[in-house]
């Protein structure tokens, strides 16, 4: 065992009487204080207090216990290794439990918002402002855009060749119908009829667009771009279907009508 280094501080053995004159106790004490001042000035530690403990500490502990009990109450059966995540912890249905999904919006607004996204496909040629330019015709103010919906649906779904409504001939517009859902078609038609300065103010509904896709599939030359002659002959009419009040409420995601007050 390594003894404390007493030799550095010459001092008497405390068990022997103080007889040695050669050693000055005060001097050795001073030296100790000088060299290990921080240690020498230390006070004793004592953990033996007996002050009365305030009741509010126990009251606080009781509150903590209650809070802990709330957590424990969710634990179900203890040491049940077959019971996994508690029923009801996760949402079964997005519309359950007060979460009603996104709030309904006006039909025209909802169709326009969705249509603007679908129009992303058309921007490359017709431009973000719908004015076309160069080799591409403008959608703003176009008679065929603002006119009969059957004609417009056919052009979008199958493309166009030959002269346009203004009589001018541009290049061939390729068919856009592949993979296009009735919702996409309805919303993009509504969008171009009400954007770029166009103010038709009506909504081409999903039901109308569904009819349009059927008509397109029933064409004799299905998939071929249309010409002015075919459009004037077969498609100079509106798509069948009930009109929708532009101010009616629809779900912004599905575009399905939503009953008021729900």
């Amino acid at each position: 065992m390594v003894e404390p280094d007493f030799s550095a501080y010459p001092m008497q053995d405390p068990h022997k009487p103080d007889l040695d004159d050669s050693l000055n106790v005060t001097e050795s004490h001073d030296r100790l204080v000088r060299e290990a001042a921080a240690v020498a000035r230390e006070k004793r530690v004592n953990d033996g207090g007996r002050e009365p403990v305030s009741l509010w500490l126990f009251a606080a502990s009781a509150v903590i216990l209650i809070a802990a009990g709330l957590a424990l109450g969710k634990a179900g059966n203890f040491f049940d290794y077959d019971e996994y995540v508690q029923p009801g912890y996760m949402r079964d249905n997005l519309n359950e439990g007060g979460d009603e999904g996104p709030p309904p919006v006006d039909a025209l607004k909802g169709y326009m918002a969705k249509g603007e996204k679908v129009y992303g496909k058309c921007i490359g040629c017709h431009g973000p402002d719908g004015k076309g330019g160069g080799a591409y015709p403008s959608l703003a103010g176009s008679q065929w855009v603002l006119g009969e919906t059957d004609r417009l649906a056919m052009i979008i779904l199958n493309g166009l060749q030959g002269p346009t409504s203004t009589g001018k001939t541009y290049g061939v517009m390729p068919a856009q119908g592949i993979g296009m859902s009735p919702t996409d078609l309805a919303s993009v038609m509504t969008y171009i009829r009400n954007a770029f300065g166009n103010t038709k103010g009506d909504v081409v509904t999903v039901a109308m667009a569904t009819e349009g896709i059927k008509i397109s599939e029933g064409r004799a030359k299905a998939g071929q771009p249309l010409t002015k002659e075919e459009l004037d002959a077969d498609h100079a009419k509106d798509l069948p279907g009930d009109p929708l009040d532009p101010a009616a409420k629809v779900d912004p995601v599905t575009l399905n009508p939503v009953e008021e007050g729900k």
Binding site: E35, D47, L57, K74, A75
Partner: protein
């Protein structure tokens, strides 16, 4: 009054301090250096939360790696090493035994640092395990565990051969921490790296381990140190002895159950997360017992608390312990838990525990221990004050802002019909505040590190007067306190 017995006691204490000088100073200075590394990495990782483009071209500096390296450096570089330094010194002092294996401890300390350095480099190189606080590649844990055993085995022997009589409350806490650490560190790493179990099981073990580091290493060591420092500097008995014991035993019973609450909603047996939440909430009881017991002791002499660097840090560490306990209650309530589970709240909670509570007490301990083992006084009250205030503001800035910001983030995430980006946007102001706070901490710890390094180089003040945080009395009959050599010339 100078008596022979007092002097003998002083000599014994001075010999203990001298025997531990090199290992303890090594752990403190190395810990402070790692703290600087952790803070630098913390600034980078926090900046990436609000400015994702920052340093994004360097794969070593991607968010996932930097955050993991930051937490590893903070926990194992600073936290553990500060805990080792405090534990071996305090156990030697309380067991009244000099250290006889300083060389072994010093060697083991270097092994620990080597393993940790390679581990952190491994994380930054992309070999991290992806499990928080167990991020280091699997080669690191075994040398760290072995060096840990070499570091503390002497302290356990010292406790065993201590003089008969009263066992001081700090010794209870220290022995518990010394025994718990190899248990949870070894078993957690063995379960994760040693056996090829289910990754879900590994995630559970990891969550438990992380909680154990806070509640079964940092909490008991910090509380043990505070139970020593407060009565020691004040020279007053601890407020109530029974309260100390209740606090200790409640921690011992509660702490091992906590941790799994991080996995609420995960397909593990349902009772585990809620049992974890139960224990995590109950941790507030031992935290309050220890915190209030010592704060009641400290309030008997607030003037001394104010002027002593040791007590200022320690008392604020205890206040943070109470806030830490409160945060444990609030964040682990089942209704709050599901909101904050995937937010920055957990990070704020960890920083509150590691930096707010534990590190403040560690700083207090360092300001107490270093003058004793180097036999020099701290050089400058201004450096200490800057360290104190900047750290205090920074902890509030990081911990409380992150906890609250996490709640806001969680509320944003719960409104699932709006874009995820909206929830992320809510975090930005809090993340900016966190980055600013880490910058505060960098300045704060620059002062601390410089001061500590000067002390380590034995360039401290030779004086018999402690460095206190009050203005000096210019008309003191004993001369200005800051005088070099005012205790007379050195004898050898």
């Amino acid at each position: 009054m100078a008596t022979l017995e007092n002097d003998q006691d002083t000599i014994l204490r001075a010999s203990i301090d001298r025997s531990l000088r090199h290992p303890v100073m090594f752990f403190f200075t190395s810990g402070a250096a790692w703290l600087a590394v952790a803070i630098l990495l913390g600034i980078i990782s926090s900046a990436k939360v609000h400015s994702p483009g920052f340093l994004d071209s360097c794969p070593w500096m991607t968010y996932g790696r930097v955050t993991a390296a930051h937490q590893t450096a903070l926990v194992y570089g600073w936290g553990c090493q500060a805990a080792f330094g405090m534990a071996i010194w305090l156990m030697a002092r309380l067991s009244r035994q000099t250290c006889r294996n300083a060389g072994v401890i010093l060697t083991a300390g270097h092994v620990w640092n080597l393993a940790l350095s390679l581990g952190v480099i491994g994380i930054l190189a992309g070999a991290g395990t992806g499990m928080p606080w167990m991020e280091m590649p699997s080669f690191a844990w075994m040398p760290m565990l072995l060096s840990y055993i070499a570091i503390v085995v002497g302290s356990m022997v010292q406790f065993k051969v201590r003089p008969e009589g009263h066992t001081y409350i700090s010794q209870w806490y220290l022995m518990a921490a010394l025994i718990w650490f190899p248990w949870f560190f070894g078993s957690a790493h063995l379960l994760v790296h040693g056996f090829s179990g289910s990754p879900l099981g590994a995630a559970g073990v990891n969550a438990w381990f992380r909680s154990a580091m806070l509640l079964m290493l940092f909490a008991p060591v910090g509380i043990a140190m505070a139970y020593y420092l407060v009565p020691k500097v004040l020279g007053r008995p601890v407020y109530n002895y029974s309260l100390s014991l209740i606090g200790f035993w409640s921690l011992a019973i509660i702490a091992p159950w906590a941790g799994m609450q991080k996995l609420t909603g995960v397909p593990i047996p349902n009772f585990l997360p809620y049992l974890g939440a139960f224990a995590a909430i109950l941790f507030a009881v031992p935290a309050a017992m220890a915190g209030i017991n010592l704060l009641k002791t400290a309030t008997t002499d607030l003037a001394t608390v104010n002027e002593s660097p040791t007590l200022r840090f320690t008392v604020w560490g205890l206040i943070f312990l109470l806030i830490f306990g409160l945060a444990s209650v609030l964040l682990n309530l089942p209704s709050v838990m599901r909101i904050t589970q995937f937010t920055i709240s957990g990070y704020g909670y960890d920083v509150l525990g590691v930096y707010g509570f534990f590190s403040f007490i560690a700083f207090g301990a360092i300001y107490f221990i270093v003058p004793r083992i180097t036999r020099r006084e701290w050089l400058s009250r201004r450096l200490i004050k800057s360290h104190f205030f900047l750290s205090l503001y920074a902890v509030f800035g990081i911990a409380l802002v992150a906890i609250f910001g996490g709640l806001m983030q969680g509320v944003g995430q719960e409104t699932f019909t709006s874009a995820w980006e909206d929830a992320a946007d809510r975090v930005v102001p809090y993340a900016v505040m966190t980055t600013v706070s880490w910058c505060f901490l960098l300045v704060s710890n620059f002062f601390f590190f410089v001061h500590l390094t000067l002390m380590w180089l034995r360039l401290g003040r030779r004086s018999s007067h402690p460095t206190l945080l009050v203005e000096p009395h210019h008309h003191d009959p004993h001369g200005p306190e800051g005088d070099i050599d005012n205790a007379g010339p050195a004898v050898h």
